[in-house]
Symmetry: C2
Subunit: 325 residues, 2 copies
DNA sequence: ATGAAAGCGCTAACAG
DNA sequence: CTGTTAGCGCTTTCAT
């Protein structure tokens, strides 16, 4: 690998001059500039960005933390982040944590070690305080609302979204309402439970824990749940499923086990993924791509000016009416 | 940002000793090691990986080149690469090209500039020779078969896969067979045309150019095509659609425009994405995740030992029978 | 306009 | 066992 020194030597100039040519500085005599250019091309020399990064303290890279990557939810966010990052010439470094705190810590560390200029966290298992402690080294944007830290955040109003979904079901005459979520412990799940409880109570309805199905992430999970519902003595007649793929699974399972949709089981999905269009699934679109885009912009703005305050930005959701309710 | 020098100073040792502690070298007196450890923790010091990368000439990062990221095809590959990369402690740098040669070149450049240890190219617009020229700087793996270069490759036998799909349709009595592809110019599209031509000719059938639909990538593209087919005077009665989401679009469009499936229009999708399961779409699974996984391994093996020869690895496909044929 | 030299933060001989 | 020193490849004063 040829370096700047060798180029300088071959061109008969100093490394500074080569550097100037490389960075389009003025104050280089035309003929020297010419000569250097030539030597550079002859050797198809390219500067070592590690070295440049080291000096500039910048990498033009943002780290995207996610638990795993085989779920359309994350892909929608990835696509949004990528789209925006591409505009500004940034790269996206995918950092998979599998919800492992050590792994998550290690990636946050990359901020301290300048491997990335900032972090966008789609998932989080570390305490807020710890997350926040890393933000001295660069902008951190989370995709989750919290009062507990003043990190920048882009998020969905999960409470409101869930309320509106439940209300929609109520308006359509369903009273035996349940829901499926991913991880029970996540912040959004807690919001959703609050929404569930409050909306039901407001309607004079009771909460049945058996109608709350956690660990519903993939299509197969949805199918299993439909199977269980088909055999419950007191089954829900409507379900909000946080994730269209899982919702699709419920739908398929329901068909398989003889449940008519929406007569016997109404379903509202989440995320407006293509599969929901395919199955005519009513769904709540939380605009994941936009969340990704905004997350990048928030990072970017702060990376330009570290003094601006962290921003919390709520992204609107929309209920897309189709035929599963 | 505290650095190794300051740690050394505070601990009253030399930077080498700190370095040794950092890298778990033997030959450090226990008490000094202890002291250094403490100072490190007090300052929550973390080494600057830019600097380490600079010295080691390694980044533990592989660049993944793709044209865009809002398509499930790439997500499946990403997921496969990530899964494997995670095992070996590697990161994945997403590099979006939008099929722009300059952009692609720039990313390849990152190999020369040591920003990544290797490249996995899901898409390619540059000539093979140019791609290959970068491979001096590190392993390049492409997800496409070619004789024109001796880069490592992980690929599907597109010819065979298409033949078997067409044969399947023939076996089911369809003779008016067409197909939908993405970019007409891609290598795989050419393979597919060959397969189409040969299989049809072998069956004594003719090739109709009007039954070949290019630029069919997203769901909406599929819907449009179904619309066109519904109004064609001499429409195909069976279609292979390279991509389940697009195939789903065809299916939906067909329903919308009154075409019964599979009686009036048989459909074979591609990739065995969840949506195909959801719609009971017969599909050809080219095992994209496995392609991603293998691509990473190929990169990894060569990164350990640059002398081993490039490998071409074919990933088997499977026709998944469901109800759209 | 140009070059010498001092780093960026770290590792790795080398010499004790 | 430990410190000194010379880089890794580049940018950026500071002289000239």
């Amino acid at each position: 690998m040829v370096n700047i020194k060798q180029i300088a030597q071959q061109a008969g100039v100093s490394v500074s001059t080569v550097s100037r040519v490389l960075n389009n500085h003025p104050y280089v005599r035309a003929d020297k500039r010419e000569r250097v250019q030539q030597v550079i091309e002859q050797n198809s020399y390219t500067p070592n960005s590690q070295a440049i990064n080291l000096i500039r303290g910048k990498t033009k890279t943002v780290g995207l933390i996610l638990p795993f990557s085989h779920h359309p939810y994350y892909h929608a966010i990835i696509a949004g982040v990528m789209e925006e990052a591409y505009q500004y010439g940034y790269h996206v470094l995918l950092c998979q944590t599998s919800y492992n705190p050590d792994q998550e810590r290690e990636y946050l560390h990359m901020l301290s070690t300048r491997q990335v200029d900032g972090i966008i966290a789609c998932s989080r298992v570390l305490p807020w305080a710890e997350l926040q402690s890393y933000s001295d080294s660069g902008p951190i944007v989370v995709c989750e609302y919290t009062e507990e830290s003043n990190l920048s955040a882009v998020y969905t109003d999960h409470y409101g979204a869930f309320c509106s979904g439940i209300q929609y079901l109520l308006d359509h005459g369903y009273t035996r309402i349940g829901y499926c979520i991913g991880r029970k412990t996540s912040a959004s799940s807690q919001e959703r439970f609050r929404a569930y409880q409050n909306t039901l109570h407001a309607a004079g309805l009771e909460v049945y824990q058996e109608w709350i199905f956690p660990d519903c992430i993939h299509m197969s999970d949805g199918e299993q749940i439909a199977k269980r519902i088909a055999t419950m003595e007191s089954p829900p007649s409507a379900l909000i499923v946080t994730g269209d793929e899982a919702a699709a699974g419920v739908m398929l399972g329901a068909r398989q086990y003889g449940l008519r949709i929406p007569e016997q089981l109404a379903i509202i999905g989440y995320d407006n993924q293509p599969i929901s269009a395919g199955l005519q699934l009513t769904t709540i679109d939380q605009n994941l791509q936009e969340i990704g885009r905004q997350a990048f912009s928030l990072f970017y703005e702060r990376s330009l000016d570290a003094t601006i305050m962290p921003v919390k930005r709520q992204i609107p959701y929309t209920l897309i009416e189709r035929h599963s309710v």
